[in-house]
Structure formats: C-alpha cells, structure tokens
C-alpha cells in the first residue's frame, strides 16, 4: 500500500516546495537567549523568539527547576487524576489564579491543549461561540471539536461583533472568544468594548493571553490589566511556553465552576500528562519574581518603545503595536525573504512572514522584543535594518 501513498505524498510535498511554503528548521546549539549560536557556528541576535521577558535561560528559573528535579524527580508517568498530580502543580495553579485575579486554574501540557479542550466540556449545540477571525489555530481546533453554533467576526471589528451577538440571541449561552494580542500584527483586542458588548448582549468572554501575559499592562498581568478588567473576564487561557519561561505548558484560569468542570470533562487534561514537576517549580518561581519586582516588565516596555521609535524615525512602515511584537511591513513576499536572509548575514535573526500566514500582499518581518535585549543589541539590530533597508530600497 505504502508505495501509492508515498507517491501521493511526494507529489504533495513537491507542491508545497514549489509554492515556497516548505518549512525548514534552523538548528540552535545554545540556550535560548538574546545571542544564540546556530549549529553552523554563526552567532546571531535573536529577534524572533517569544522570549518576551528574557526568562528562557534565567538562572533563577533554572535553579528552581534543578531543585525540583531533586525533590520531585523527572516525570510523573501519569495523567493528573490517576497519580500525576504533585503539590507543585497545585501551588502553581493557585499562583496563576492570584496573578490574573481569577478564582481557579487548571494546567495543561500546552496552551494548544488548553484551547483545544476548553469548549466541548462547557458548551453544547444549544450555545453559540463568537470568535475573532484572527484567533490562534488552537482556538479554531477547540471550536471545531465543540457542537456549539459558530459565528465569526472580523478582527477586532466591534460593529461586526455586535451584529453577530444580536444574531446569536436565540442560543442559550453566548461566548465571545478572542486573542488578547494578535500574534502577527501585535495589536491588542479592544477588551473594554468587548466587555461592554458582552454585558449588553448577555454573553461571557474568553481571552487567550499567550502573547499578552507578562507583556501587556503595567505589571504584565495582560489585557485585563491594560483595560482595567481584572476579575471580570470569565475565562483566560495562557501559556508557560512564551514570556513565562518558554518551556512548555498552558493553563485555563477563571471562574471556579468552569475550572471544576474542565477537571471533570476536558479531554486533554484527562488523557495526557500535565507538565513535569520541574516546569511547575520554575513557573512558581517566575510568578514570584514578577510579583517581587517590575524590572523585567519595565525593561521590555522600554525596549519596545525604543525600537519602534527608532525604526519609525528611519522611515520603516511599522504596524501600530501595543505589545512586544513589531511588524515591519514590506508587503512583497519575495522582498520579505530576501530582507530576512540579508539580516541574518548581518547577525540579526528574524523571520519574514507572507501569505497564507498573513493576508496576501501584507508580507512583513515580525520583530519580537525581549527584556533579554540590551541597548547594544537593539542598536545593532537597528543599524542592520537601516543598512539592509537602504540596500533593498525600502527606506
């Protein structure tokens, strides 16, 4: 059998390659930090990691992880409700709830799983899910696994959202679902207006804080801090795989009954191991650090402002951003690829994104800032952008 299937797959893979969409991995031989070493031996500055707070190689997190290895071992070899729950898991769940001002938290192996297992246990075919068109793939998969009626509104378009809410009045319950920060543009969902509409049309709200937790808001508590809605959003999902240390793991935090229901019915929680204890321990340390001082959050905000301002001054076309994501617009797919590979030669590692990841004709370089970046790193990147920008006649 495999002979035919092999031919079929080879043809498909060829199509992907011809379309220029073949995904290749760049292999890193060092820890994740501002300066990384590729296996080619080249040292480059990393501007494409979700390492927003610079914690991916933080000594204190590593120390906490190492201590947990000694006290709690390596793996749990079990799902949570059989014999896979350590005291560290419970402690982290309660710390996350405190951090976001919510009632309870449930951990998952990844935020992909948190989103994938969120909707089915809570909603039935009598209910409605009203989802932003640019929501993350994992939310889309979660919605696909749920029987509720689906509505979709244009990205952050409140008029469109309102009309969908009005159309969904016949359903029993309505939930509005949005990313906090949209990962390709870096714009923030208008949570204040979403909340108002939810009140007006009797809906509740879920926000995915993957790119906003630790980043957005004065103390990094995410979009609920930015819009002064702490404790008011029913469901927040987030990840430990980006700003929060970057290892692995996700969570859903929110109303008590919702979390309790997820513990009974959410399939990725019931059928997969939780995060290893050492990741829970580092997570606990991470939240403690963010509570003790605002240094990392402040530094990230400063770095972002500095970079965005300098780049705008140089004449680059930058998407308005309220996060640590800075989209440098180039519009042309080929140009975005050439620009990125020239930057790599200059020692700056960024990725050019183009259709279908972003809309056709909106190719760009996505720069992600980090508290791990020092001024000299930012200046080096800005200089490289200027050089390549002039060369390629972008500025």
């Amino acid at each position: 059998m495999y002979v035919d299937f092999k031919k079929h797959l080879q043809a498909e893979l060829e199509k992907i390659t011809e379309a220029g969409l073949y995904k290749d991995e760049r292999v890193i031989g060092s820890p994740q930090q501002a300066e990384i070493t590729l296996t080619s031996g080249q040292k480059v500055l990393n501007f494409c990691a979700n390492n927003y707070l610079g914690l991916s190689n933080n000594p204190e997190l590593i120390k906490a992880a190492r201590e947990a290895l000694d006290t709690h071992g390596y793996g749990m070899s079990s799902v949570r409700f059989i014999c896979g729950t350590s005291d560290l898991h419970k402690e982290l769940e309660s710390k996350i709830a405190d951090f976001f001002g919510t009632e309870d938290t449930i951990l998952y192996a990844a935020c992909f799983d948190a989103n994938g297992g969120l909707f089915e246990p809570l909603l039935t075919s009598e209910d409605a899910i009203i989802s932003d068109s640019l929501n993350h793939a994992s939310i889309i998969d979660g919605v696909r696994l749920c029987k509720a009626k689906r509505y979709r509104y244009e990205n952050a378009d409140m008029e469109d959202l309102e009309s969908r809410l009005a159309a969904a009045q016949e359903q029993r319950f309505r939930i509005i679902v949005t990313d906090g920060v949209f990962s390709m543009d870096g714009n923030v969902a208008p949570m204040d207006k979403i909340y108002e509409l939810a009140e007006k049309y009797d809906a509740f709200v879920m926000v995915d804080e993957c790119h906003s937790a630790g980043v957005v808001g004065k103390t990094g508590r995410g979009v609920t801090e930015l819009f002064d809605l702490r404790g008011k959003i029913e469901i927040i999902t987030g990840t430990l795989g980006k700003a929060f240390g970057g290892a692995i793991g996700g969570f859903t935090t929110g109303k008590k009954e919702i979390i309790e229901m997820l513990r009974q019915r959410s399939r990725p929680y019931l059928f997969s191991n939780a995060i290893p204890p050492l990741v829970a321990a580092a997570g606990i340390r991470m939240i403690d650090m963010m509570t003790e001082t605002n240094e990392l959050q402040d530094k990230l905000h400063h770095n972002t402002d500095y970079f965005v301002n300098k780049m705008s001054d140089l004449g680059f076309d930058i998407k308005p951003t309220e996060s640590a994501i800075c989209a440098v617009m180039l519009y042309d797919a080929r140009l975005s690829q050439e620009f990125a590979s020239r930057l790599l030669e200059e020692g700056i590692y960024v990725i050019g994104f183009y259709y279908p990841v972003v809309p056709d004709g909106e190719a760009r370089i996505r720069v992600q800032l980090s508290a791990a970046h020092e001024h000299e790193h930012l200046d080096k990147a800005i200089t490289a952008f200027r050089k390549v920008g002039k060369e390629l006649k972008v500025i």
Partner: protein, 415 residues
C-alpha cells in the same frame, strides 16, 4: 450578566450530578518523586501518607532514575530552560534532532517528528495525511486522543470490533473503493492490557492495500524482546507505516510524544500537523532526560526483563488468590470487579492499607466492567509486590469475592 446567573447554576448542577453518580474525579497530591514508594496527600489537607504506587505508567521505573535526573540537570545547564518558540521559527536545538534520530533508530522506522505530547501527535497526524477521499478504520477501543484526531480529520471513519480480525477484514472489503485506507489501532490497549494482533493486521493491510497506524504509548520501552514495542513482539519491525508513542509513560514519564514512520509521512507532518506548527516542542531539559533513557535501554534489557518477571509474579499471585483478571501479557493487570461502587470502595480500602491503585468504571470502561487497573513497574521490588498482594487479599476477603467467578461477583454486587 449571564455568567453569574444561569451558567454558574448549570455547571453547578452538572457537577452535582457527576458527584452523585460517583464518578467525580479527585486528584491526590504527591509530594515525593514518582516511584514505587510515594508520599501522598489525600484527601487535600490531610497528613502525608506513604503508599506503594500500583497505578503509574512508570513501567520501567525511570521516572526518577538517578542517571535520568543527572542528564536533565546537565541539559538545563547546557541548553537552558525554555525555547519560547515553535520548532520552525527558532525553537529547534541540535538535541531535538538528536532525539528524533534516536527514536527512529530504536523503533526501526525511517524518520521521526516530536510533539509536545502523544495526545498532540494523535490529534494532528490524521488531518495532516488524509482527506475526504480517504477512510480511517479504527479499533473500537483506541485511545481518546486518536478519536479526537479522527474527529479533526475530514476523512471518513469506520470502526471494527476490538481486535476482531474478521470484522476488520469485512470493513476493508466494504471500503475497498476509497483512495487511502488507514487501519488504526493501539499497540497495547490501556484499559485491558491486551496486545493488538499486529502480525495479522500487517497481513490484512498488505492484502487489502491499506496503511497501518499503531499507537504504542503503552509498549515502547518494554514490549518485545528488546523493548522496541508491539511491532517487535510480533516480528513486524519496519512494516508499520505510522507509529505514535509517548515519552510520558515508560520513557521517563516527563512529557512529549512523536510520530515515527515512513519518511514522507513524517515530512508531511512537519509541513501540516497543527500541534507541531502552532505549539512549542518538548523542552530541552526533557529532551536531555529522554536521550538518557534511550541510552539506558539500548545498553541493556535488564529493566524490561525485570518488569516481565514482576508482571508474571503479580499475575500469578492475584490469580492464585482467586481474583478475576483480564488475560494478557503486558504490565497492565486489570483486577475485575464489574460493579462501579465496589471498585471505588475497593480502591479506598487499599489506600488505607498503603496501596495506591485506582478504580475505573463507565464511561472510561464499558458499563459493568468496573475494575482496579494495576500497573507493574521495574521500580517495584519483591517486597512491594508482596505487600500489595497481601492488601489485595485482605480487601478481597472483606468483600467476599476471592474465588468467585465473573457471574458470581455480578450476582453478589450487581452491575
């Protein structure tokens, strides 16, 4: 607004129903490493209790093995804590590739792709490979994550009776007109511990021109002469098109899974499998630990041999005591009690005697097939198993089920 009123009440009612039905899932907090002996807080807030763990997937006793811990420590030092990125942006280290190659070599396949968990591997693999022109034919008892993966795939699906090769053949004939036919099974079934008949399935797949998919999560590391898995046991190495498996059970038990198999299949997963594209892969520290696990297993079959001996001892002990077991040869040994309440009470009494083993009942297993699922580990010493046997006998005596047949237990306790 709507949450505080109706929804809250709806969920409260549903949760109450779950409690009333006796199927509310409660966590027990473990304060020690995962091992044969563990320290448990249960119920929440009570004093720590030392118990013998008889229900972990820690088949090889590697979850807190000193060499694995040492490797993890070193991994943290040399490769840091997190990658903060998906694989194809800036989330791939040299050790991720190294692990993929190790898995490929160990399983005797062509290539391997890592996933954050085997749940994610199963959730993403079908959609990446099949379309509405194709058919998935799965065993009725495959794992929930496979079911979710199939739900996310537009290919048609059908099922065959558990391990019933005649029924499978009928289904292969029925769907002969489909472009791609994929037969889908677990290698070892998690609730009963029985092995899929992979030799016969390979034959059928060859005869009817179908692909064969095996989830070997409950076999990798210990089933087969050198622990390669169910395919080694049935002498069909190299003949399985897709294998998925986990590092979250025997292989150290931390986290992570993979798809391993034909080169093009793995390549296609790298292009299209959503959990791979949209989620971080396994953290470097976990990779470092799993690499060490492969070293340990490649060097010696001591641990899987010990597991086999322990399993034989345990099965014989329980059988001699007069329990009804599900037949099998894997370290999953279900003690059949049939009645859900009896399974719950039995588990609780065991815990009081220092033995940690969980009762399973509908909907996790079919109605009327409630049981205590015991899982044996190479981490168990004779004295652990003897103590556990004593406890099982005591509780079995208390409920008067020793020596009773299935029908007699059902007669005594109902279904």
């Amino acid at each position: 607004m709507s949450y505080s009123s109706n929804i809250k009440e709806l969920y409260r009612d549903q949760l109450k129903n779950i409690r009333d039905a006796g199927i509310y899932k409660e966590e027990r907090f473990i304060h020690s490493t995962q091992d044969a002996d563990i320290e448990v807080e249960f119920p929440a807030g009570s004093r720590l209790k030392n118990v013998i763990n008889m229900c972990a997937n820690n088949y090889l006793g590697l979850s807190s093995h000193p060499e694995v811990l040492k490797a993890a420590h070193e991994g943290l030092e040399t490769r840091g804590y997190g990658m903060s990125s998906v694989r194809f942006i800036c989330g791939t280290q040299d050790i991720h590739r190294e692990l993929e190659n190790k898995v490929t070599e160990f399983l005797g396949t062509e290539d391997t792709i890592l996933f954050p968990s085997c749940m994610d591997a199963n959730a993403g693999v079908f959609e990446a490979l099949l379309t509405s022109e194709d058919i998935m034919i799965s065993d009725r008892l495959v794992h929930a994550s496979i079911i979710d993966g199939m739900r996310l795939c537009s290919a048609e699906h059908d099922t065959f009776k558990h391990s019933n090769m005649q029924h499978l053949e009928q289904k292969l004939q029925l769907h002969a007109d489909k472009r791609i036919k994929m037969v889908i099974t677990d290698g070892v079934f998690s609730m009963d511990g029985d092995l899929a008949k992979l030799d016969e399935m390979v034959e059928l797949c060859e005869k009817y021109d179908a692909l064969l998919f095996v989830d070997d999560s409950h076999s990798t590391g210990f089933i087969g002469k050198t622990g390669r898995g169910t395919h080694e046991h049935f002498d069909v190495l190299g003949k399985i098109d897709v294998i998925t498996t986990t590092f979250g059970k025997a292989m150290g038990g931390a986290s992570g899974g993979c798809v391993s198999g034909r080169k093009e299949i793995v390549d296609m997963c790298r292009q299209k499998a959503r959990p791979y594209l949209f989620s971080n892969t396994i953290s470097p520290v976990v990779v470092a630990g799993v690499l060490k696990v492969f070293d340990i297993l490649s060097g010696s079959t001591e641990r899987r041999d010990k597991l086999e001996e322990n399993t034989k001892f345990w099965r014989k002990g329980l059988t001699d005591a007069g329990f009804v077991l599900k037949e099998g040869e894997s370290p999953i040994v279900p003690v059949m009690l049939f009645n859900a309440q009896l399974a719950q009470d039995f588990s609780k009494d065991l815990f009081d005697l220092g033995i940690y083993a969980i009762g399973f009942f509908f909907p996790v297993v079919p109605n009327g097939q409630a049981r205590i699922r015991t899982q044996i580990s190479a981490g168990h010493e004779k004295h652990h198993l003897e103590k556990a046997l004593d406890a099982f006998k005591k509780v079995g005596e208390k409920y008067g089920i020793l020596g009773l047949s299935k029908q007699e237990i059902i007669k005594k306790y109902g279904l």
